[in-house]
């Protein structure tokens, strides 16, 4: 069913556009505070900008981008006090607007190949108008007379050969969903296999033991990590496994470890068991 999912946005999209606008841009003084509380209801930074733009109460084509930038930056500052985990795209927009604002305020000679500040502002104004148009027609769309609500199909269709009756009622969605479910089911096996290229303590032990003979006095342990292989996680697992392996070798009395300059300083390692050379 199509129901649900709307739970978090708290706005009833099936309301007429008028009431929707009213809710979005109340002329009251409490608007700013309400924006903060409603953060989860926003559909991204552009949506926030649109709501803020409506507060200026002018046509979107005559909006003051400078003022809008200020409004947005103030909004983000306010929100960050309470929502430390503010999504990255809100911050990216804030950074971009701060940049735009500085360009608009300080008309330095523009580099030839870059867009002018005015062009950048126009781009933003266009995106706002486009999003507003889509929100407006979306609201009108769901206000159209709809089948099953305002008009009805034949309640007792008669099966006759003239109309095409598929043997089976299956929609594209069913097929795609079946395949997706199948992939999810079978993916578990794959993931198990994939995990094998992480470094295990055994791997690290073998590698350290092999290298023991070549260790000069008090060498830095980190230098004996396997070469990074692109994957951050693989590198991290190698580091963790090597550390544990070093502890294990130290426990066996084959090496000794030292970290003299305090936490996060290089760990140094020295071979104890000379007879252990291979």
């Amino acid at each position: 069913m199509v129901d649900g999912r709307g739970g978090t946005d708290g706005r009833d999209v099936t309301r007429p556009p008028d009431s929707d606008f009213e809710e979005d841009a109340p002329p009251s003084a409490g608007a700013a505070e309400r924006l903060v509380l409603d953060l989860e209801g926003f559909e991204g930074p552009l949506d926030v900008l649109l709501v803020l733009a409506r507060e200026q109460k002018v046509d979107l084509s005559r909006i003051s981008i400078l003022r809008l930038a200020d409004q947005y930056l103030a909004f983000v500052t306010r929100v960050r006090d309470r929502h430390l985990d503010l999504a990255a795209d809100y911050l990216v927009m804030a950074a971009w607007l701060a940049y735009l604002k500085s360009r608009l305020l300080l008309p330095v000679p523009e580099p030839e190949e870059e867009a002018s500040a005015e062009e950048l502002a126009d781009v933003l104004a266009f995106r706002l108008r486009r999003l507003e148009a889509m929100q407006r027609v979306g609201a009108r769309l769901v206000e159209l007379p709809r089948r099953g609500v305002a008009f009805f199909a034949r309640g007792a269709p008669e099966p006759i050969q003239a109309t095409r009756h598929p043997l089976y009622e299956t929609e594209l969605y069913d097929v795609l969903k079946a395949y997706a479910d199948h992939l999810v089911r079978t993916s578990v096996r794959t993931l198990t296999v994939e995990a094998a290229d992480l470094w295990s303590v055994d791997d690290a032990l073998r590698r350290l033991e092999r290298l023991l003979g070549d260790l000069p006095d008090w060498s830095v342990l980190a230098r004996y990590l396997p070469p990074p292989q692109g994957e951050v996680l693989a590198t991290r697992s190698a580091m963790a496994a090597t550390f544990v392996a070093a502890l294990e070798l130290a426990r066996q009395g084959r090496i000794t470890l030292r970290q003299e300059e305090g936490p996060f300083a290089p760990i140094r390692v020295k071979v104890l068991d000379v007879g252990g050379r291979s």
Binding site: I160, L167, Y168, E194, A195
Partner: protein, 210 residues
Amino acid sequence: MTEEFEFLRLMEAILFASSEPVDEKDLAARLPEGADAAALLAALQIHYQMRGVNLVRRGSKWAFRTAIDLADRLAPETMESRRLSRAAVEVLAIVAYHQPVTRAEIEEIRGVALSKGTLDILLEAGWIRPRGRRRTPGRPLQWATADGFLDHFGLESIEDLPDVKELKASGLLDARPAADAYGNRAVRDDGPPVDIEDGDEGEDEDEDEP
């Protein structure tokens, strides 16, 4: 429009939209005060008398039905549309994504033997067709989607099927529960090893038909 014609229109719409024949008493109850249901029904019946659809009485109930003389020409289908079984939908999906694919491969991919009628059902529905034989020992038959598949599902080409990435992005494929066990890695991963684009196409292919 006269008031009476308005009542007639309403009655017409109610009878049309109803899934069951409607009792005359119920019709009268749904009409505004002062409407004469019996007279309206009689008028409506006369209006449709010669048409392709007639208003017919079944006891105290009324319904629209295809005119008898046409109903004979448009012989009713004996079979009603049914829902395809879960397994059959999955096999269809696998044929669509991995075509051309042999029966053994379908079983291998699903990890379970195909029950007897599954391919027959899809074949009968016009959604799959045999497409050549694989050039491997035993020369097994390969299966692919038929034109009826594109037609039924409103696709213009088999390319319109979303690939794994697109399934994920559209929200149909949510692998997160499985991925959790392995942290960030699994999420970044593009998923199962099932190859959609290149599948088994090409190399061993040996089409018996153009």
